[in-house]
């Protein structure tokens, strides 16, 4: 696992996390469909997420459960992490 950021207990959207940081998922705040789709891909509470690339307006790429996933920026805003 990469380094874990200092601000351990601040809940914030995944879209604010910098490249290379690893964070833990708290909750997904989306509609039922997206919620369930994300859950099936491993986005469940406590899951470790490593942000590979967070370039505005470029790709938002994360690694979760050993799988590389691209997220739309809107989706990344709905994922709350710590």
């Amino acid at each position: 696992m990469g380094k874990v950021v200092a601000e351990q207990n601040v809940v914030r959207p995944l879209s604010t996390v910098a490249d290379g940081d690893t964070v833990r998922l708290v909750q997904v705040r989306a509609g039922r469909g997206l919620n369930s789709r994300l859950a099936s891909m491993g986005f469940v509470s406590g899951a470790a997420i490593r942000v590979v690339s967070n370039n505005h307006p470029g790709p938002f790429v994360v690694v979760i459960k050993d799988v590389k996933v691209v997220l739309g920026r809107g989706v990344a805003q709905k994922i709350l992490i710590r």
Binding site: L34, S40, M41, G42, V44, V63, K68, V70
Partner: protein, 686 residues
Amino acid sequence: MTQPIVVAMVGNPNSGKSSLFNMITGSHQHVGNYPGVTVEKKEGYCTHDGCDIRLIDLPGTYSLTAYSAEELITRRFILEERPDVVVDVVDASNIERNLYLGTQLIEMNVPLVFAFNMSDLAKRRGLEFDLDQLSCLLEARIVPTVGSKGEGGDALLEGIVRTAREGRKPRIHGLRYGAEIEEELARVEAAVLERERGLADRYGSRWVALKLLEQDDETLAKIQSPEVRDAASKSVGRLRSIFRDEPEIVLADRRYGFISGACQETIRSSVERRHDASDLVDAIVTNKVFGLPIFLVLMYAVFWLTFTLGEFPMIGLEWLFGWLGAAVSGLWPEGSDSWLRSLLVDGVIAGVGGVIVFLPNILLLFLAIAMLEDTGYMARAAFVMDRIMHKIGLHGKSFIPMLIGFGCSVPAIMAARILENRRNQLTTIMVIPLMSCGARLTIYSLIIPAFFAPAWRGPVMWLVYLIGILLAVTCAKLLRLTVFQGETLPFVMELPPYRMPTPKSVLIHMWQRGWMFLRKAGTVILGISVVLWVLASFPKPSPERLAGLDGAQARQAALEQSVMGRVGRFVEPAIRPLGFDWRIGTALIGAVAAKEVFVSQLSIVYATGSDEDTDALRKKLRANYTPLAGFCIMLFSLISTPCAATVAMTRQETGSWRWAAFQFVGLTVLAYVITLAVFQVGRMWM
């Protein structure tokens, strides 16, 4: 003879399921579509230990909820067709995420075999499995396989046959979800057992109760008893207040909990997995600056491969059909006017041959697409194009079929299969004919030199193509706002690891598309060709009328007399405001068979003789029409009436004649309106 063992293969996208399926069944495969949807249905056969086995390759999914067509198809097949064995193909180098689907199969209590695929890769990554213990925890056989190298097939078949012989048996442990959920689950299960006996017997009471806690729409719709609904909604309410989240999500948490528990005990990892190499490649191919040019270069390569390289076998096929036509024609004495000869030569051979010549294009195109998909680049390409395509309400991948449309609409519509979302796929298919295809180029190259000075030829051609693109973009946007309304799906996509494609899977993929296309050419397209031949050949003029006419004049008289010629005359008042006369009308109707037929039909109505002598035809055109009318002919050919093969392919890929008719009528009306406006406004200026 005993019944074959029915085996359903399921697995995550990118788990190597297809290559495993290809490995086991080889060429004994049958590809079709599920009724009404474009999700592919692949079936294969094999034998093992004296048992016949029928394998069904179900669509790749991450879970078995009811949110996408793929998930629903997979789930319904397992529930309703009750296969004897379900094989869950798992990417062994990425167990956790892949086993999530497995937990849902365990919940359904189906006879289950896990294929731990790509186990060589897992070993290289330093993963060590205690398969015996994991097999105990999952209560199912586990067979390590390497689909791309053909390893583990026999062991897998052995596991399938044994599991099938044992049949369904109750699970000892199953999955437990923790005290609070188990309590509610027991309540709902009791209600189901009491009031919904039929469902309980069919699907298992615990599974039905679980789905009710997840508020699964499909299961809820099956519940008749208000008591059960009531019990379920009360339980859901209680769980919501305990967990402050949807029970559905809590259940997903618990499933992952079960998996990580099982993995902790049975998997040892000596090396931490890193993505360095793939991160580096991704940084280049999805780069803000380089991503788009790299994509465009690769697309150009695909286009070049399909249409430039494809031209050589195409010429061969054209020659073959020409020879076949001449050979069949030679069976009759010289100058015979037998209708059977004309049907075979001008109807069947020319019609079907005209479509089959595209086979090399189709094969090469799908070779290229299979390579892009199997290497893992396609997911990156979709991502690169997504920002642009998103603006017109389409998915990044829509770009590929639209580009192919410049070559030919038929393979382009087939290529729209790479789109997962149905609305995106339908929208893309609807606008593909607006991308000006190669066959329409023959019309432009007749018309443009006839009316425009050399300096203007390039710009006019460019303008025609540009109008097509702009209309496609506008129509796509309009369709997404109206007929195919609905939110654009949030963008979540796996970037699979880069892999070397295996020749076998690429070739099988290519052959399957080719075969699908050939079957279409042999059925629907054959039928339409014959109908159009009848329209252009009957009723025949009387022998007196033909007396004293030469070949070209006789053909002119015959076409004028035929149904097609009459329809051309009949619609003349309607197309007059577009600047067309009955001759153009007749040629346009003929162009329904194939766009390039327009040129040969026009040369018949003007009796200018052989097709090669286009200059004579151009002179006639110049004498009869203004440049504005000439431009309008191109405009109308560009937009209107997709050719018969396109209609047939749209019917196949959308699963209904309704969409094919919608496309046909919609584009024709659009063509009429636009051409009318251009001609009428243009006339005021000229």
